[in-house]
Symmetry: C2
Subunit: 341 residues, 2 copies
C-alpha cells in the first residue's frame, strides 16, 4: 500500500486563490480504532463554497484552519473496518479530508448504493448540488406553471439542475452562463427555453428583457454582482430570489459595491432569501428520493466534469473560478476495487 | 358653503420636494350623482410613500399624474348622500383627493365607528400605518420570544407600532431614530428596550453591537441606506428583514450605491422581503380588530402629530423628510359637525 497524501491550506488566498495557497504532504496511512473505518478516496468534490472557508471571515461554515487538511465531499470505499455497520468494500460518502485515506466513524459517513446510479453522482445530482437546487428552487423559489425562472451560473452543478426542475414545474426557464458551449448545452440538451452568454452580450439587461417578456418571477442566483443587478431590474410583483451563491464576488479583494437592491425588492413585494443546503437536513431523504426518481425517468440529466488524479485537485478547484467547467466538477482519485466481498 | 380647494402636483420633484412642486386651486364644490356621496374632509394623511408617486418611475403604485389632485388617506364626513348605504353625518375613510370636498361612491369609502376611537386614528394606529406594522412584523418578521428586533425609523407612524407589537411578542426591541426627544419617547413611553440616536452616535455599528448582544433576528427597515448596512452586519442565522420603506433614499437624485447585501443574506440564511400593506388586503379585518384590542388594553400607545389647516398640508408633507415628526403626521382640515342626524 502506498503512503497517504494530503492537501493542506498553506496560506489564506487574497483575491483569486493560487497554487501557492496549498501544500501537498506525505504521511503514513493512519491506524483505525474500534468503531472506525479506513476509507480509500475514490472521488473528491471541489465546490465554489469552499473558497469562503479559505478566508478567515465569517461565512456559511467556519474557516479552514491553516496548515490542516482541507475538508470536502468525498466518495470512498472502505478498505478496513472495525465498525459494526460498515464492511470492507462498502462505498460511503462523507465530509472528509482531501487525502488518499481517511479514518471515520459511522456517524461521519453514509453508505451509498452503487447499483442505483454511478457513485460519482452522489457528489453531484444526487448529492449536495442536487439537493441545493431542489430545496432552493422549490422551498424558496416556488415556481408556478407559466412563470419565468432565471438562473445565473446556469451551466454549473447546481444551476443546471435548477433549470431542469423548473421545466418539470412548467416554468419558462432562462439561463445565464459564460460560453457558447454552455449556452448550447443547457438549451439543446437540458431544455432551457433561452440562454444568454453574458460574456458576449453587449447589453445583458436588454438581452434579459427579450428573454423574459413577462418579467421575472423567480431568480435563482449563483453569481451576484452586475448580472444580478440586471435581473433584479425585471422583477415582477411577488418575485422570489433564492440566494445560493455569489461566485463573482468570492475572490474580490474589496467589498462588493453596487446599487442597493432594497428598493427593487420593496416596490415589487419581492422576497430574497439566502440558504445553505444544511438548512434542509431534515428533508434530505425526501429530496434525494425525488431527484433519483427524476434521473431514472430521464427528466433530469446530469453532467460531470471529471479530472483524473489526486495531484490535479488544486487545478480542478481553481478551474471553478475560471468559468471553464460545465456541470459538476469532480476529481477521480482511484478506481473502485473489483472485489466486493 | 365655501368653494372647494384642491392641491395639485404641479411638477415632479427632483430630489427633495419643495413647495414649488405643488399648486393650490380653487374650484366649485362638485355635484353628486345617484349612488354617490359628498364628503367634507376632516383629517388628511401625509405619508412618506407618497413621495414615490410624485416621481414618474415605477414604485408601489402608479405615479400621480401632473396637474391633477394628489390622492391619499382621508377621513371625512358625509354632508350629502344619494347612496343607499351611507347617510349624512356618517364618518368615512378612503383614498381620496387632497381637497376640501370629495365625491365618492360606496365602493371607494368605508364607514368608521367614531365611538371606538378618535376618528384620526383610522389614519394611524388603526389604519394603514398600524396594519403595515402588524403584517410586516408578524407575517414577515415573525419575532419569537427572546429574539432581538431592530427597527429603523422607530419613532415614525409605523415604527413605533412595530416596536410595541414586538414587545407584546416578548422580543428585545431596539429602535433607531434621529433625535433625543424621539429616543426618550420610544424608550420611556413605549417600552422599547434600547434606542439609538443615529445622528449623535459616532459609530452606529458599535452602538448597535452593544444594543444587540445576541445579534439581530428581525430588522424592520423603514429607512435604508447606511443605517441598514450597519444592521445587516449583525444578522443572526435565519434572520428576517421586512422591507417597509427606504425613506433615506426617496429624495436622492442619483441611484443609491453601497455594499451589496446579498453576501450578508447568504451567509446567514436570512430572508428579506419587500411588502406593501395592500398585499394583505384580505386580512385587514383581522389586523384592525387585533390592533383595536391592543389599543383598548393599553398595550399599544399611539402618538399623532396634528397640523391644523388645509393650507399647511404641504408643510406637513415636507416635514416627513426632515425627521421632525414623532408618530403619525396628520393634517386636521375641519371640525366634525355637531349634529349627527
Amino acid at each position: 500500500m502506498e503512503n497517504n497524501q494530503q492537501i493542506l491550506l498553506a496560506s489564506r488566498p487574497s483575491g483569486m486563490p493560487t497554487k501557492e495557497n496549498f501544500a501537498f504532504k506525505e504521511a503514513p496511512i493512519p491506524e483505525i480504532g474500534v468503531g472506525e473505518v479506513l476509507i480509500r478516496t475514490l472521488y473528491l468534490s471541489v465546490d465554489p463554497y469552499m473558497r469562503g472557508r479559505m478566508s478567515d471571515r465569517k461565512s456559511y461554515v467556519p474557516p479552514f484552519p491553516l496548515n490542516e487538511i482541507i475538508v470536502g465531499g468525498i466518495v470512498g470505499e472502505i478498505i478496513e473496518s472495525r465498525a459494526d455497520d460498515l464492511s470492507k468494500g462498502d462505498v460511503v460518502i462523507g465530509n472528509l479530508g482531501w487525502q488518499l485515506y481517511n479514518v471515520a466513524n459511522t456517524a461521519e459517513v453514509r453508505k451509498i448504493d452503487p447499483t442505483i446510479a454511478p457513485i460519482s453522482t452522489y457528489l453531484g445530482v444526487l448529492g449536495m448540488p442536487g439537493l441545493t437546487a431542489y430545496f432552493g428552487l422549490l422551498d424558496i423559489g416556488q415556481p408556478k406553471e407559466g412563470e419565468t425562472v432565471v438562473i445565473s451560473g446556469a451551466a454549473g452543478a447546481v444551476g443546471m439542475i435548477v433549470g431542469q426542475i423548473a421545466k418539470i414545474k412548467g416554468a419558462h426557464v432562462v439561463g445565464i452562463a459564460g460560453s457558447d458551449e454552455k449556452i448550447d448545452y443547457i438549451t439543446q440538451e437540458l431544455g432551457f427555453d433561452v440562454a444568454i452568454n453574458y460574456k458576449t452580450t453587449d447589453n445583458i439587461r436588454q438581452a434579459l428583457k427579450e428573454a423574459c417578456p413577462n418579467g421575472v418571477d423567480v431568480y435563482f442566483d449563483n453569481v451576484g454582482g452586475e448580472i444580478s443587478d440586471a435581473v433584479l431590474s425585471l422583477l415582477n410583483h411577488g418575485a422570489r430570489i433564492p440566494l445560493c451563491g455569489q461566485i463573482s464576488l468570492y475572490n474580490l479583494e474589496k467589498p462588493d459595491v453596487g446599487p442597493r437592491i432594497q428598493s427593487q425588492l420593496l416596490i415589487n413585494s419581492a422576497l430574497m432569501k439566502g440558504f445553505i443546503v444544511s438548512d434542509y437536513a431534515k428533508q434530505f431523504k425526501e429530496g434525494a428520493f425525488q431527484l433519483a426518481q427524476w434521473v431514472q425517468e430521464g427528466k433530469i440529466k446530469y453532467k460531470e466534469n471529471i479530472v483524473e488524479g489526486f495531484e490535479n485537485t488544486i487545478d480542478a478547484f481553481l478551474g471553478l473560478f475560471k468559468g471553464e467547467n460545465i456541470g459538476k466538477q469532480i476529481v477521480k482519485v482511484a478506481e473502485r476495487s473489483q472485489q466486493s466481498d
